[in-house]
Structures are given as C-alpha cells and as structure tokens.
Assembly symmetry: C2
Homo-oligomer: 411 residues x 2
C-alpha cells in the first residue's frame, strides 16, 4: 500500500473528528438518535464517504450507506460497518470505530486495487444503544425487517416525544429516502471494541466472535413488612432485604461456580423505606444473566427462580419476578469465523475466537444473513464512558484485518 | 374515685386535643423541637397543668413541669412524664401519651386523695426524637447534665439553623426561665406505647421495662470495581453488592439464630452506579444491632466485623466500617420494676417484664436516678407513623397503673 498518510495517523484523526460531534465536557460523546449532534455526525459521515469515492445515500430511517460498486456482482452486497449513536457521555470508539474502520478499509482497497468484483457497502447505522428510546437496534432492525416504521409510534423519549416524531423532525421516515428494508445483503461485517478486558489480559490484538450471548433481564420485587428495628423480634420479621441478600448471594455465587462463561449481575437495588432503624418492607433488584448457549442460560434461570421462590417462602416474602428481556444467543457464521482466524494467524496477529458478552448489531444481522464480528482490545475493559480507550496500534490491526477479509470476500 | 368523666373518655379527648397541635394531612403529627406547633403544644400543656391545679413552669430549654407539692418531702421530687416532640408525620401516642398519663394520674390523685406526702412533678420533656437536630434527648439530657447549653451551638437543622438559634427564637436558652439542670429528682417514671407488638401478640395489657437495649449503629462501605455486566467474566469481578449481600445474609442470619433477644437490622442500602447492566463498584449499607446485655452486643459485633473482613478479603473489596453510635444498655431500677409488676398482678392486669428495643428518655434518667418505664400495647406494633394506635382501654390501664405506682410512692 502506498498511502501518503500512515494508517494509524488516519485512524486517530478520524476517531477524534467523529468524536467532535456531540462531544461532552467530560471528554466523552453524546449522540442520541435523531438529535442535532447525531444529524450533524451522520451527514458528515455521508460527506466523508463521498470524499472517499463511495456513492453515499441515506435510507428512510437515517442509516447512511457508502457503496463501492462491484464489477461482477451488483445485486448482492457485502455490508460492513457499525452504529453512529452513543449512550449519554459515552466513549469515542463504541460503534464509531466500526463505521470508520469500514470507510477506511474500503477506500484504501479501492485506492489500491480499484473496483472489487463484488459490491461492498459501508454503513453507519442510525441506532443501536437504545439510549434515547427504549428500543434498541433501530438501524439494523429496520434493514433486516425486525422493525417496521410503525414501531416508531410505540416508544417515547424522556420528553414524551415519540420515536416517529423525533424521526420526522430529523427529516426521516417521510419517504424522501428509499425504504430501510433490504433484501440484497449477502453478509454483514462488524468491527468493534471488545468492551471487556479479555484481549488485553491475554495480550491478544484481535478476536473473531463466535457467538453473541443470549440474555435474560428481569426485575425482582420482594414485599415483606416494614417494622421498627428495635421493637420487632427477629422471628417476627418479614425482612425484604434479608431475603434479597440471600437471593443475590445465591445467584452470583452459583454464577461464579458455573465456571462456563455464564455471567450473572445484580446491578440495581433499592429498599423501602430505606431508613437505618426500620426493617425494609420492600426490596427491588435487577438481575441480568447471559450465556452463549440458550440451554445453559435457561437451565440456570429456572434453577435460580426456584431458589428465589424457596427463599421468599422461608422469609414469608411475596415475590414478583418480571422477566422483561429474553434474547436467545446468536451464532456468527462459523465458516467466516474460521476463515478470518486463519487470516489473522497467517498475518501473525495474536488472536482468538471469543464470545461477545455485550449486544451488537451483529446479533440482528446474524439471524438474517451470514455475519462476522471482530473485536479489538478495550483498555481496562472500560466502555460507555469517556474513559473508553483503544490504542491506535490496536485500531490499526482491526482495520487491516477488515481489509484482508473484504479483499478475500470481494476481490 | 368519683370522677364525673370516665377515665377512657378523658384520655381519648386529651390524646386528640394534643394531636391537634402540629396535625398533618395524613392524620399524623409533626411537632419538631422549637417549631411553632411545638411551642403552642408545650404552652397548652403548661396551661392544662395549671387548670388541673398543678404549679406549672418552663425551664430554660423548654421542658414544662407541673408540680404537686408534698406535705412532708419537698426537696426531692418524684418525676413522671415523657416527651412532647414527634418525628415528621409521627403518631398521636409516642411521647404524648406519657405526658398526658402523668397529668391525668397526678390530677386525679390530687382530686381524690389531696396533697401527697412526697412532692410529685409531671413533665413534658421538650425533645427526645432527634428529628430536627442530630442530637436526641435534649430535654432529659439537659435535666440530667448529659448536655450543657453550649452543646446547642454544635448542631444545625436542615435549614442550617443552630439548635441554639432555634431555642432563642422560641424564647428559651436566655436565662428567663430557671436552668434545666436538676439535682432534686428522686426517681423518674415514664409511661409509653411499646412501639412493638409483643404485648398485643401475647395478649398482655401492660409491661414493666427491665432494660433499655444497648445499641450500635454503623455504616459499612464496600469498594470494588464497576464493570460491564456482559463482558467481565465472573472471576474477574470485584462486585461490591455481592460482598454486601453475603454480609447481610450472615449478620441477619446469625442475628436470627442467636435467639436471645438480639436484633440486627440492615435498613438502608445503596449501590453505585446502580445500573442493571453494570457490576456495582461500590455499596453502602447501614447496620443497627441491639441487645440488653452489653457483653452479648459486643461479642456479636466483633464476630460480625470479623466475618465482614473475611468476606471483603475473599471478594477483593475494600471495607470501611464507621460505628457512629455505641450506647450501652441501661437497666431500669430492679426494685421498682418488681414492685410495679406486683401491683399489676394484684390488680389482675395481664402483664410481663420486658426489654425495650427502642431508645427512650428513661435511658437518660436511668443512669442518673432510679427509673421505671412502663409500656402499653401498640396495635400492630406500628409507630412513628400516622397509623400508630393504642386502644383507649389499653391507655386507661397505663394511667391506672401510673396512679397506683404514684400512690404507693408518694402517699
């Protein structure tokens, strides 16, 4: 490759350029779907694609595509990219890197090798995080048919604006642009930061993702009775927090001892009345469990719920469990995963196959077309934070691997 | 006794009369120290004492005394009463009943038997709850020398007003009234609602309190590390809530299995960042443990702290324990307790000797002079709530017992 600008420099510059749209005082980025910084960023991405010689366009929900027409296959598209939106005060890399990696990789391939045999499109998906509306994967979900435009009427943001109204205000959803739904996606490729620290801990530079975990999330409500801390004998109490603490000890302890990659997290807890000298009458806590095999996940879930019921019964506690999310695991394309790992080995890049514990657009594409997902390391595993960081050398490997993969697929 | 008005009627009327000062929209009472409703109530109590033929006066901190001069002993005073202040939206009975019981008992004794041999004073103590200022027992503490006037400079309310300024604004603390400190208290008698449901559960009408429990209260802070719920393997976590849940299970479980009257309560808990898909990096919880034997309390405390340290160590959690309250148990006068139980037995009143799990002015007097505390039942054990309730028949027994005791002591 005879680029004037070294790849690391180009990546570093573009990461900071994109992070300037919606930058926060903490050094983070806030680009919520259809907000002004989001629209500026997505418009700038379209322009960047055009500058790089790609034929760029919006679709009706605000996804941006940059097309490099193939010489032989034009009715099927190799799609590469990630999402442009962020959480509130998120990092510079989550989503953004995958969008930029695809643009850099495709434009460098074009510059070096000219037109590919097969058509490639880079994509900046409009939404993945579910940060503004309680509906995630709006971009990939609209492309793959998981969502219809009418779903935009069902959810509102904290200002009570519907997703549909927000979309209209940003200039989308009105038929000006082609519909989002696609039938011509041959495969999807997503490069992303790991958001964990397995690669860093194992001193690896790159991973091919084999599965995106299945996930169950629930809210557990315990109702006992509030009582005076001094005047209520221990055996007369219906202590909601005591029962909750037994449940949390049990589920996290059992999660640890599984030792099979299952993760269980209780991240939220609250008690009422939350006064030091009053026995808590109610306690509510969250539970998030994930595994890449649905059977393992379901078995763990059932076992824990049974334990919860016994603990509640013993403590004379009314138990209410609302399982509000139940997503099965999604397998990435095994053939692609194998081939990509081989490419990494041949290039001498220290790499591994791993499971993604976080959700990604690839799980939406993964049930719709052959999908491959690639990770680069996250420093200290920090993500969804202004402290999110990946070394430019590691980002470079991510782009180089994407170039190798796209070359193998399209040229 | 040849009263025109039946005793139950008189008690019911006076309870509702006193509850009208500082009544809340929820049917409760808020009378914070030195507030307008407090001053109105305390002034009305003084007037009520005068109407009943008692010689009434304020002291310099706002305690109100109603004196019935003895024919033989005037330099020693039998003091009977409780406190006038309440928690925010508290009940009609806590404190108030003890004040009214003393006024009714003494005025009825006077009406029936004339002047006693020994001098009796009824007292409406200015403050016990510590609701406005983080300093409890201001009334009894000022009488017994636990507090000096200068202590009023050290604490402020939520409006940043010092206790001293609030006291001055209400017209106290300026030397207009005699100093609060007394050297002439022969004994103290306090009638109070149980604030628990032991009497009700055991179908008893009255109790003589043997001890007021010792109490240790602490704040436990755990610091681990916040991590992504999906991408952080279980064995890489430093989960502050998991450690807390093990500690809470342990301390409450051990408290139950002691089966010796010890009570342990975790009433408050919070985690950071308190997000469902993030491993909690920090957790803070309260612990309140009480027992009537200081050795038992201390042994339990030490054992639990050792367990906490082991749990923290195992979870790689930094542990910080701040024990901000450590009050030893206070024994009520055993001779008086025995005599009072005998009086109840003779009167055919179903009664028992019991420990008070809550703090009371009697614990301040108990280390200063012979002190006797008496309980009447609390319906459902509810207290510090508008739902606080004791049947008038039960209140009547409390007043009758106080009359018997005062008669025995003073006539």
């Amino acid at each position: 490759m005879n680029q004037v600008e070294p790849l690391t420099e180009e990546i570093g510059k573009l990461i900071n350029w994109l992070a300037s749209f919606g930058s926060t005082k903490n050094g983070g980025v806030t680009r919520l779907l259809y907000s002004a910084p989001w629209l500026e960023a997505q418009t700038a991405i379209k322009k960047k694609m055009e500058e790089r010689g790609l034929s760029a366009r919006f679709d009706d929900v605000g996804n941006v595509f940059g097309r490099l027409e193939g010489t032989e296959e034009r009715d099927r598209v190799i799609l590469a990219g990630s999402h442009i939106d962020t959480v509130v005060d998120g990092g510079k890399y989550d989503g953004a890197f995958g969008v930029l990696a695809a643009i850099i990789a495709v434009s460098r391939l074009k510059q070096h090798y000219g037109a590919p045999k097969k058509t490639i499109e880079t994509v900046s998906l409009c939404e993945e995080e579910g940060s503004r509306f309680h509906l995630a994967f709006w971009g990939s979900g609209s492309i793959t048919g998981r969502y219809q435009l009418s779903d935009a009427r069902k959810v509102t943001d904290t200002e009570h604006l519907t997703l549909e109204d927000a979309m209209h205000q940003a200039g989308f959803g009105t038929g000006v642009f082609p519909p989002a739904k696609r039938e011509d996606i041959a495969c999807f490729l997503e490069t992303h930061i790991e958001q964990g620290q397995i690669l860093e801990d194992e001193k690896l530079a790159w991973a091919a993702v084999s599965h995106i975990v299945g996930m169950k999330r629930m809210t557990i409500q315990l109702t006992g009775a509030s009582n005076h801390a001094g005047t209520t004998p221990m055996n007369s109490r219906r202590d909601a927090l005591y029962a909750a603490s037994q449940m949390i000890s049990s589920v996290i302890g059992d999660g640890k001892s599984q030792n099979n990659g299952l993760v269980a997290t209780v991240g939220q807890i609250s008690v009422q009345p939350n006064v030091g000298n009053v026995v808590p009458g109610t306690c509510t806590f969250s539970l998030d469990i994930r595994h890449h095999e649905y059977d393992v996940l379901n078995a763990f879930y059932s076992k824990q719920l049974e334990k919860f019921r016994l603990i509640a019964q013993r403590g004379q506690i009314d138990l209410n469990i609302e399982t509000w999310l139940d997503d099965p695991p999604v397998k990435m394309d095994p053939m692609m995963t194998q081939r990509h790992l081989k490419l990494a080995r041949e290039a001498g890049i220290p790499s591994k196959k791993m499971v993604s514990g976080a959700g990604h657009d690839s799980q939406i594409f993964g049930v719709y077309c052959p999908t491959a997902m690639m990770f680069v390391p996250s420093h200290n595993g920090v993500s969804h934070s202004p402290k999110e960081f990946t070394r430019t050398e590691d980002l470079e490997i991510g782009v180089q691997m994407l170039m190798k993969i796209l070359y193998q697929l399209a040229y």
